[in-house]
């Protein structure tokens, strides 16, 4: 589904990612683990076309994404739920959702999709005409996830989706990811709740200082002593 080959990139002249290769198999959940500042968000932003890939190759569905700009990637089915939510603060919740489904591929089913999102997060329905900037932190996070799902992605890139969610909501998000995955969606997730993430994922990569240092099935990684110590806090 998605494969990165020796990808290099960063912010302007600062290089952060020094050659990362990874694969997300179709229909799988793949996790990115790593400490703060390891480069997970940077990889996500490069995938979404926000940051440039200076070397290496990104293949999605077999096609090179090098020349594809952000909106083309969304249209092709690769959607990012960014870290820090990035909702449109002065637009209403509903307008935020509609924007999530603005690419041509998703536009015909707008209305129905919004209803589905409201089913998933009833709180959003209650706040549908409130400006997104005035939502509570957790509500904004729900909105960001829902907005990402609006585009009917084939591959969903989740950057810390449960950040700031109460346990009950975080659980809901994990459950949702699992059921979305069952219905065929591929997922790449970066998340600090390592335990839950590994329970959910099929495969995982550990990122350190802009490089992949460990890779394996999540069951293997769960029992890897390095992971245990560094990311599970055992």
């Amino acid at each position: 589904m998605l494969s990165l080959k020796e990808v290099v990139g960063g912010y302007g002249e600062v290089q952060i990612i020094h050659g990362v290769s990874l694969n997300v198999r179709a229909g799988s959940v793949t996790a990115l683990l790593g400490a703060n500042g390891a480069g997970k968000t940077t990889i996500m932003l490069m995938l979404a076309g926000v940051l440039p890939v200076t070397q290496g190759e990104v293949l999605f569905d077999g096609k090179s994404m090098g020349a594809q700009r952000g909106h083309q990637r969304v249209n092709a089915g690769m959607v990012l739920v960014p870290e820090g939510r990035r909702v449109f603060p002065n637009l209403s919740v509903e307008e935020n959702l509609r924007l999530g489904g603005i690419v041509p591929a998703a536009r015909p089913t707008w209305k129905q999709r919004i209803e589905e999102m409201y089913e998933l997060f009833p709180r959003l329905r209650e706040r549908r005409s409130q400006a997104a900037g005035t939502l509570s932190g957790g509500e904004q996070q729900m909105l960001a996830i829902a907005r990402g799902l609006m585009a009917r992605p084939k591959l969903l890139l989740l950057d810390e989706p449960t950040l700031g969610l109460a346990p009950i909501m975080a659980q809901l998000v994990f459950d949702t990811i699992r059921s979305l995955n069952r219905s065929g969606l591929s997922i790449l997730i970066a998340e600090q709740d390592t335990r839950n993430t590994l329970n959910l994922a099929d495969e995982a990569y550990v990122v350190e200082n802009g490089r992949i240092t460990l890779h394996g099935s999540s069951d293997n990684l769960k029992n890897d002593p390095r992971v245990k110590e560094a990311y599970l806090g055992l």
Partner: protein, 298 residues
């Protein structure tokens, strides 16, 4: 004229509409450029001025109707907009390390551009004022008198304003545009083609400035140096109506038109600018986001 007469006068109403419509269409173009991309286009008035000249040339050399010229000018301005975007503006808008100084640099750029345009036109055409007579037959309906060109300008401006409003309201483009206004980066993430949005609003903005120029040239005299006050009027309207709020801009334009006619009729023409700027300044002091700011519930 007594108080009552003033309000009943059809002539004043007509004058308000014509002035308001002209302000509206000039401001519309600026709103699409400044309101959406934060490009401080101080050369907006020069675009209008060039529109007036092109209309004049086509009329006096080829005898083309200014109505036809609006189409030519719109197309021409749009092309200029695209070229400008491709060669000068894209970097400023898209490159992350340039966005910081976007407003500052765009001010400098457009200031340079306005000097350039003004002086090239002055060089080619001299600074001698121009005006021409087109459709200046006077139609009278009872007490109301209207020249043909003012009626036409009103109708064209109205049509364009309504057209653009409907387009922004009912097309996806309107929503995409608002997302770009809010957060260009997040807009890209959800799949908005940010560059396309930029180009469309820039071309729409430039085209409507050009058309406004043709309409203005039909009615008033012009010279290469009329641009600055026009740009200022446009900025006032755009800010009063709320940045990026197209409909708000139209209402603000109408309000200024009304002050300019009713306000002046009731007080004194000498107070024209005092009234206009007074209303503007007072409004912002009480409503720092303009007349039609969305108020977040508190």
């Amino acid at each position: 004229m007594s108080f009552v007469d003033v309000f009943l006068s059809q002539q004043l109403l007509f004058a308000t509409l014509v002035t308001g419509a002209l302000y509206a269409i000039i401001a519309l173009g600026l709103n699409l450029v400044y309101g959406t991309m934060r490009l401080l286009n101080v050369a907006h008035g020069e675009l209008v001025m060039v529109g007036a000249y092109v209309g004049y040339w086509l009329f006096s050399v080829f005898g083309l109707s200014p109505l036809f010229s609006t189409v030519v000018v719109a197309a021409f301005s749009a092309i200029v907009g695209v070229l400008l975007y491709k060669f000068l503006l894209r970097d400023m808008l898209v490159r992350v390390d340039r966005r910081e100084r976007l407003e500052a640099n765009s001010l400098l750029l457009f200031f340079g551009l306005s000097l350039l345009i003004q002086n090239i036109v002055a060089w080619v055409e001299t600074a001698t004022p121009r005006a021409y007579q087109y459709m200046d037959h006077v139609y009278r309906f009872g007490d109301l008198a209207m020249t043909g060109n003012r009626i036409i300008a009103l109708l064209v401006a109205l049509a364009i304003c309504i057209g653009v409003t409907l387009f922004l309201r009912w097309s996806v483009f309107g929503l995409a545009l608002r997302s770009v206004i809010e957060q260009p980066e997040a807009a890209r993430i959800v799949g908005v083609n940010v560059e396309q949005v930029h180009i469309v609003s820039l071309t729409l903005g430039f085209a409507s400035a050009g058309v406004a120029g043709v309409l203005l040239g039909m009615m008033e005299q012009f010279s290469p140096f009329i641009g600055f006050p026009l740009a200022i009027a446009a900025f006032i309207v755009v800010i009063l109506g709320g940045l990026g709020n197209i409909l708000g801009g139209f209402l603000a334009a109408l309000l200024l038109g009304a002050i300019e006619t009713y306000g002046v009729a009731l007080t004194s023409p000498n107070l024209r600018s005092v009234l206009l700027y007074g209303v503007f300044v007072a409004t912002l002091m009480f409503l720092p986001q303009g007349l039609f700011a969305k108020r977040v519930s508190r």
